[in-house]
Amino acid sequence: MLTWIILLIVAVIVFWFIGTYNMFITLKNRVKNAWAQIDVQLKRRYDLIPNLVETVKGYAKHEREVFENVTELRTRAMSASGPKEVGEANNMLTGALKTLFAVAENYPELKANENFLKLQEELTNTENKIAFSRQFYNDIVMRYNMSQEKIPAAIVARIMGLTPSEYYPVPEEERGTVKVSF
């Protein structure tokens, strides 16, 4: 009788362990997947920026500082690694782009340029998609990190050697809303 009870308990623990293990694997992959979605948008943005700078340069030659700032921040963002670092660099890049578009307001001819308008729309599109996928990514990271801390799942997490994932930082001025418009 006693052996049966012990066997039963062991069986329950084994099944629980397998279930929890699989839950962590699923969550881990979801985090990875959510990050991949942001990454695609970030890459698209890096590709658009040189084009934009070239177009604006043709009309606003004297704003060298602004261009240099954007170009430099783009390079920095591209070489950053990990969600936190990448996020911070990109948030700074967003700020620099805002300045660039604010400067563009002073050049009516530039604002009428079809290529410029197209690039502006493309960048707004990527910007919004980054903001929305960030929301999604951070939600999943929160679930993943919280399940790692809760007992008894924390034991499995420890055995698996899991570490909490980094959040994608939300820029200060955007807390609460994710709307971006240049």
Partner: protein, 295 residues
């Protein structure tokens, strides 16, 4: 009481099923009278049975296409409607569903609707008037409202009801017309048949306004308030939609293709004036509720 998304989806699917069952029974009843009147016998009944099955399949799989065609919507080309496509794509990322197909209809009244049977087979249609009048944030708000209808399966119920009611109205007109046209014929059999056709026509004439009233009940105002709030939550911004509704509310001309079968699909009533008040809550009230939201 707060309901989860899953409960809402379940409820919409159940209601759609129930609606199709009730309507099938009605259709079989009418078909029976019809077969009886024309003395078609068993073959006629089998025919009616097959027709009802086929009809339900068509309604389930194609009512979105019928709705789109009936309002004259055409697919929006990516190169011509770049901003619209971009906004739809962004909001679908935010809502976590696949990007719906995008349609436009040539109409000056600013309006929009969504249709389809599930998020994987959904379409969003906007009027050209809406595109002209709205800035990017407002457009985003309107699309988010529609995206919420798609995500919680409102589109399935609303589209199916619309198409079924459309058929009822059509049948009623056919039967009532045959009643007048049948007058010239002679013979006792013909008189008998005409008598029953007339009864069917009368039944439909009585039933159709009741059905229209039922739609109003099924698509309660609560559904629109919910889509407003949920849409605002999807993009974390209630002001875009609020400002879009203000613009929509100030436009007073009716839509050219407005009809009872599709009116409830739209974000705001396509009719002018207060006659069709009941399908949509008052716009001022929706704006007020939106502006009180914080996230």
């Amino acid at each position: 009481m707060k309901r989860t998304l899953y409960e809402l989806i379940g409820e919409n699917k159940r209601r759609t099923f129930l609606f199709l069952v009730i309507f099938s029974i009605l259709l079989i009843g009418i078909g029976y009278l019809f077969v009886y009147a024309l003395e078609w016998g068993t073959i006629g009944l089998i025919f009616i049975g097959l027709f009802v099955i086929l009809y339900n399949i068509i309604v389930y799989y194609n009512s979105d296409k019928i709705a789109l065609v009936s309002v004259g919507a055409i697919p929006a080309k990516e190169e011509d409607f770049k901003v619209l496509h971009n906004v739809v794509e962004e909001v679908s990322v935010a809502a976590g569903i696949p990007k719906p197909k995008v349609f436009v209809m040539n109409e000056t009244q600013p309006n929009a609707f969504a249709t389809g049977r599930n998020p994987q087979n959904a379409s969003i249609c906007v009027t050209t008037g809406l595109l002209q009048m709205m800035n990017r944030e407002e457009l985003q708000g309107v699309i988010a409202h529609e995206m919420s209808h798609i995500r919680n399966y409102d589109i399935l119920l609303m589209t199916v009801i619309g198409i079924v009611v459309g058929l009822i109205i059509l049948l009623r007109d056919i039967f009532l017309r045959s009643m007048w046209l049948g007058g010239g014929r002679r013979g006792r059999d013909r008189d008998n048949a005409n008598g029953i056709l007339m009864i069917i026509g009368l039944i439909l004439a009585i039933v159709s306004p009741i059905l229209v009233a039922l739609i109003r009940a099924a698509i309660s105002r609560q559904r629109e308030y919910l889509a407003d709030a949920d849409g605002a939550y999807i993009v974390r911004d209630p002001y875009g939609l609020a400002s879009a509704l203000e613009k929509i509310g100030s436009y007073k001309k009716p839509m050219q293709v407005a009809s009872d079968a599709t009116a409830h699909l739209f974000i705001s009533s396509p009719f002018a004036g207060e006659k069709y008040f009941a399908t949509h809550p008052p716009i001022e009230d929706r704006i007020k509720r939106l502006k009180s939201l914080t996230f």
